[in-house]
Symmetry: C2
Subunit: 231 residues, 2 copies
DNA sequence: GCATATTTGTCCGTATGTATA
DNA sequence: CTATACATACGGACAAATATG
């Protein structure tokens, strides 16, 4: 039985987007978005033939797209068996939070004198509040992630930005298999606000403390629920 | 079969997976090594036809290898023009050192109580001393890089390890275009030893201070020389 | 600016190897 | 063990873009 068969429906609309720039990159973007929104859940096999037929591109081109996403760790490649949407282990989760703590705290610690460019952080919080009002928990999760992406961006390093994008995209793989998204996203909106407030008042050290606790709590909660889920 | 036979059974599959790496991966490794050793200097165009002919693989396979290396930032891809060995800008250099400072210092700061697992660091220093004795400056540069790779590895995070490997491979692109490699590698051997000594004596904070100065000095020296070189 | 040769982008058909039912 | 489905890798084809004279 193939998990692929039933989940190919919406791809026809994406076909229209296949104009301009490199085909493989465009295909990768389509698949990346599908994975990010949970359309292809972790564990799904992505069949070369099924998808290349549906998207109207050759298998060679699709394979190039697969390579891209494999390097972004969204797919895993089993030799002679094909590619599958990554299934995170608990160890992966723990490591992702280890890196987040390293990078996000280091970004705050490296700040100079206030004021800081906090516009993007304000926007992310506002986006989260709107999502919470509308009870759109997936959107709230995305907004929270955006907040921390922009937090790390305070380091002012393109490579750090890319690393954070990658690692948070990975983390989203875990979000999509959680049963009760509200419980996993709503409490952290207020805590993001606290962090932002500390930064606004020129207290990066305090913000770093809050952030450290935030990450520890989030990791514990997620890892615990995740462990129960995949066992 | 004996009970021993049963417990060893699974290993056969692992062995099979080990030798059976795909052609594209093997090609990528060949090219990666060539680039790392400076055989293909930055700016070189890598022709699809020339290389696929020479290596005896099809163009499609070679292109997959190119994709891998492009994602490792060792190659750049110009649409309809081909792939070229990456040419670092001064901004790239500065950003690489920004990330190094972030990651390496954070790794030291996150250390718990001594003693620490310093074997790999000792080995890297020893390798550097040997290279210095033999006046093999390229090898000394490699040893210094290994030292810092293992320094970051103290964080105990697979993702951090991978990031450091990638970023230090990028940095090597700059090393290869430097005129006087001795001046750029020899002074730092002693400073690595100092850092190691601080760690041995259970003083990670001191090691972090030394490391910070090391990175600042190295960056300044490299960026300055590099700027003069590419202008 | 133009015409030509070269190189890349994309796709196809096929033979072979591999895993799974 | 066999059959089936799928991935791997190759070589060839043609269009499109680019470089060269």
């Amino acid at each position: 039985m193939t998990e692929t068969g039933d989940t190919l429906e919406g791809l026809d609309e994406d076909r229209a987007l296949l104009d301009r720039t490199g085909t493989a990159d465009r295909v990768a973007k389509i698949l990346r978005d599908r994975i990010a929104e949970g359309f292809f859940p972790p564990g799904t096999q992505l069949s070369e033939k099924a998808i290349s037929d549906r998207l109207g591109v050759s298998r060679n081109t699709l394979r190039e797209a697969f390579r891209l996403l494999t390097h972004e760790r969204l797919l895993v490649h089993a030799l002679n068996r094909g590619v599958f949407v990554r299934r995170l282990t608990v160890e992966d989760l723990v490591d992702i939070y280890r890196v987040r703590r390293l990078m996000e705290c280091a970004a705050l610690r490296g700040l100079g004198e206030p004021p800081y460019p906090l516009d993007a952080l304000e926007a992310a919080v506002e986006r989260g509040r709107k999502a919470a009002r509308e009870e759109d928990w997936r959107e709230l999760g995305t907004a929270n992630i955006k907040f921390h992406e922009n937090l790390a961006a305070l380091a002012g390093s393109p490579r750090t930005d890319e690393l954070m994008r990658r690692i948070l995209a990975e983390l989203r793989l875990a979000f999509h298999v959680m049963a009760d998204p509200r419980r996993f996203h709503e409490p952290y909106l207020a805590r993001n606000q606290e962090i932002l407030q500390a930064l606004r008042s020129g207290d990066p050290a305090g913000a770093e403390r809050l952030l450290g606790r935030y990450l520890d709590d989030s990791r514990s909660q997620l890892a615990q629920a995740y462990e129960a889920l995949i066992s």
